[in-house]
């Protein structure tokens, strides 16, 4: 049966689950050797300094032990990086991404059509990038932004076209390869991702979006996203991810670095819907200067295990951080997410809202750290985590660490854990909703305080994903 026929016969879940036959132009060997890294860098025609950074990162990766000593961390023992194919270049003529969907091979075009990306681009976005396997295959931005000096291109192209900016910011002060084992791995084999540059005082009104699609079995995707928002600028960057389900494990280990300059405002939103064979281990960090604002919005829906703790370093006086995270864990899933904030200057402010849902034996964990440095006076932080469990088999943990080294601060923390109420479900059933719909409505209500802060299209998408997750495990 061709994949096309296959698609016709499946239901909505197939929207993310469908697979395409793999046609690639270049594919690295499994595992990690210096030789592999050199090949990737050569295939990309990179400058020497980037190759050197990759090789240094590889050394760091080899030296660092797998993290196994975190309290309650997800089990990574099934993840064998040596079995992962780190780099696959799809068979696309245009390097750096086509500007027209029609220029892409049918199967790739078809994939993104199914995911609804071209339509969203027409209606609600300033720009779109789409990555297939290891490379960005499509990149486009409305001209009016280009005219104002906004850059939205794929990361590989940025290495060539914006070399100085990249050399200065790429895995140097924000997320150095030495940060953790998977950041080091990422530094060695990264490929694709987005580069976003917003000049001073430019406000990009509609969001820019990147979509990362992993299609091949047993591969790793390591896209790198670098966002630089100059003084007084504003941008909303959205990232979507998905992969079809396979028997062997995939690895996604993205890196995100955000530089929020004085008075700038960056929102980074992501809905991750990896298939349930994917290990999702990311490092995302922002450095926020004086009076800048960083907003992280994360929906972690899929994957076998996720470890993701977006971090803001509030470096300048008056800097602000907002974190919103939603996690959903079904059968066999361990979603370990949270937030990290470092208050390194006075008058800084952070708010963290986390909602998690677990069912059918899934586990969610909120793991967070708020650090307030000595001297960061008049800073405030508020952390709120709520967990909803569907049944007695599911687990929800909360680990909100606080390190407060300054006395003149305002700290608030609240956590609730509850099971979905039988009386609530019966009440809705008695009005005509069936058991599944009743539970779905309760879950939608549970995350409502968060979805109401999202752009409407995005909130709808999130609700739909949760519906799919719930149908999948209920059916």
């Amino acid at each position: 049966m061709s994949s096309e026929e296959n698609l016709q016969e499946t239901d909505t879940e197939a929207r993310f689950e469908f697979k395409k036959e793999q046609h690639s132009a270049f594919q690295s060997e499994k595992g990690l050797t210096e030789e592999t890294i050199r090949l990737i860098s050569e295939d990309k025609d990179e400058p020497d300094w980037m190759l050197e950074r990759r090789l240094r990162a590889l050394k760091q990766y080899k030296k660092m032990p797998m993290p196994t000593d975190w309290p309650g961390q997800p089990d990574l023992s099934e993840l064998d990086v040596e079995e992962i194919v780190p780099y696959i270049r799809p068979d696309v003529e245009t390097r750096g991404g086509a500007e027209n969907w029609e220029d892409l091979p049918d199967e790739i075009q078809d994939t993104f059509e199914k995911l609804g990306i071209p339509e969203a681009e027409r209606e609600a976005l300033s720009g779109v990038g789409a990555q297939y396997e290891s490379e960005v295959v499509y990149q486009n931005m409305q001209e009016r932004w280009e005219e104002k000096g906004v850059v939205f291109c794929n990361m590989d192209e940025a290495v060539q076209e914006h070399e100085e900016l990249v050399k200065q910011h790429f895995m140097t002060k924000c997320v150095p390869a030495s940060d953790n084992k998977f950041a080091a791995l990422h530094g060695a084999v990264w490929s694709g991702g987005s580069f976003v540059y917003i000049p001073e005082d430019v406000t990009v009104e509609m969001p820019v979006q990147a979509y990362f699609r992993m299609n091949s079995e047993g591969m790793g995707q390591f896209e790198h996203t670098l966002i630089i928002a100059e003084e007084g600028s504003e941008v909303h960057y959205i990232e979507g991810c998905s992969a079809p389900k396979y028997g062997t494990h995939n690895l996604h280990s993205g890196g995100v670095e955000v530089f929020v300059k004085e008075d700038a405002h960056v929102q980074y939103s992501t809905v991750q819907n990896w298939s349930k064979n994917t290990f999702n281990l990311n490092t995302k960090r922002a450095i926020v200067e004086e009076n800048g604002t960083m907003e992280w919005v994360s929906g972690s829906m899929g994957s076998k295990a996720t470890m993701l703790y977006p971090c803001s370093i509030l470096k300048g006086r008056g800097a602000t951080d907002n974190h919103i995270t939603i996690a959903f864990a079904g059968e066999g899933q361990d979603i370990d997410t949270g937030a990290k904030v470092y208050h390194n200057a006075p008058d800084t402010k952070s708010t963290i809202e986390s909602k998690s849902i677990s069912k059918d034996g899934g586990r969610t964990n909120y793991r967070g750290l708020v650090h307030i440095a000595d001297g960061a006076e008049d800073s405030s932080t508020s952390v709120e985590c709520d967990a909803l469990m569907f049944d007695n088999e599911s687990t929800s943990d909360t680990m909100p660490y606080m390190e407060i080294n300054e006395s003149k601060v305002d700290v608030a923390h609240e956590a609730t854990v509850g099971k979905i109420g039988d009386e609530d479900v019966f009440y809705l059933q008695s009005r005509g909703l069936d058991d599944d719909d009743a539970k779905q409505m309760i879950v939608a209500g549970f995350i409502e305080p968060i979805t109401e802060e999202l752009p409407i299209e995005y909130a709808v998408e999130l609700n739909r994903l949760i519906e799919l997750e719930m149908e999948g495990s209920l059916g």
Binding site: E13, A124, L428, M441
Partner: protein
């Protein structure tokens, strides 16, 4: 004309074997108002819950039947003959709701994050869809096609195009009319379902939901408790309107004569120890107010 019929209903708590109902016989027809009275613990609330299908109770003996006539549902010309008598005990709570059985809760659940408008429209559409399925059988092929279309042709950044039988605009019109009728503030429509409502507001909301869902049979469990006199009047108006305008049959569970002054029952049933012990006209409620349940007990047990 619809009739709900309880025949010799025995029920116990599902976890445990405490028997609460010992053979309840009761019949309520469209357009009638029945009062069900009785002391605490006599089984009134349990009766209401087994009618609605609460999973915490098991019916161990007896039947709960719903009889429909051909033209009982507005918008449906003729209910097929094979779909006119229903054994409610075989149906899920939402299927009972779809056939027009409504329970107004004594303690309605509070659902955070779900607006009244969203909830009620979803419920109304779910009810109409389920009712069609029950009466005319499922048309699965069509449903699946719809879903596949929704999956592929709409963007993931949009909601499903499918709006249900009652669209947003039509529903808002309906909701504001019913709210006005019950003298409810328009801002209720955007509040979360019962969340932070006062006791009285919750009761008003139960009657509003009945007005929207247009039940054939409504069981109202202590709808009058916690109501001040003004709101009691509003709620009573709502109940009378259900009966007068929609022909709903009402089974009203209450401790007090007070609401019966506003909603005059055709029949009063008095429950003792899990059975209907005495029945009569509206005057029975007055007598009860005068003489108390001990009098009923004396009458019943002396006679027996």
């Amino acid at each position: 004309m619809a009739t709900i019929e309880l025949k010799n209903v025995h029920a116990e708590v599902a976890e445990g074997d405490e028997q609460i109902l010992h053979g309840v016989d009761l019949e309520v027809k469209s357009g009638e108002i029945h009062a069900l009275m009785g002391p605490n613990g006599s089984g009134k609330s349990t009766t209401s819950k087994v009618i609605a299908g609460h999973p915490a109770y098991d019916v161990t003996e007896g039947d709960i039947l719903l009889h429909l006539e051909a033209d009982d549902f507005d918008g449906i010309d003729e209910i097929p003959e094979s779909a006119r008598t229903w054994d409610l005990l075989e149906l899920e709570p939402n299927e009972r709701a779809a056939l027009g059985v409504f329970l107004a809760f004594q303690y309605p659940a509070e659902i955070e994050g779900v607006t009244m408008t969203n909830f009620l429209r979803t419920a109304l559409n779910a009810k109409l869809e389920e009712r069609d399925e029950l009466l005319f059988g499922e048309d699965e092929d069509e449903d699946e096609d719809d879903e596949a279309d929704a999956g592929y042709e709409t963007s993931p950044m949009e909601g499903p195009a499918d709006e249900g039988e009652v669209g947003v605009a039509e529903f808002q019109q309906l909701l504001s009319e019913k709210m006005e009728l019950l003298d409810m503030d328009a801002k209720f429509a955007q509040r979360y379902l019962n969340a932070g409502f006062s006791g009285g507001e919750k009761k008003q909301n139960e009657v509003l939901q009945a007005a929207i869902l247009e039940p054939t049979i409504a069981v109202l469990d202590e709808i009058d408790s916690g109501l001040d006199i003004d709101r009691l009047q509003d709620v009573a108006d709502g109940i009378n309107a259900l009966r007068d305008e929609q022909g709903t049959g009402v089974l009203q569970i209450t401790h007090y004569q007070r609401i019966l002054d506003y909603v005059e029952p055709d029949t009063v049933h008095i429950m003792l120890d899990g059975e209907i012990a005495m029945e009569g006209g509206p005057e029975l409620a007055e007598k009860l107010e005068d003489k108390g349940y001990d009098w009923v007990r004396e009458q019943v047990y002396n006679a027996a």
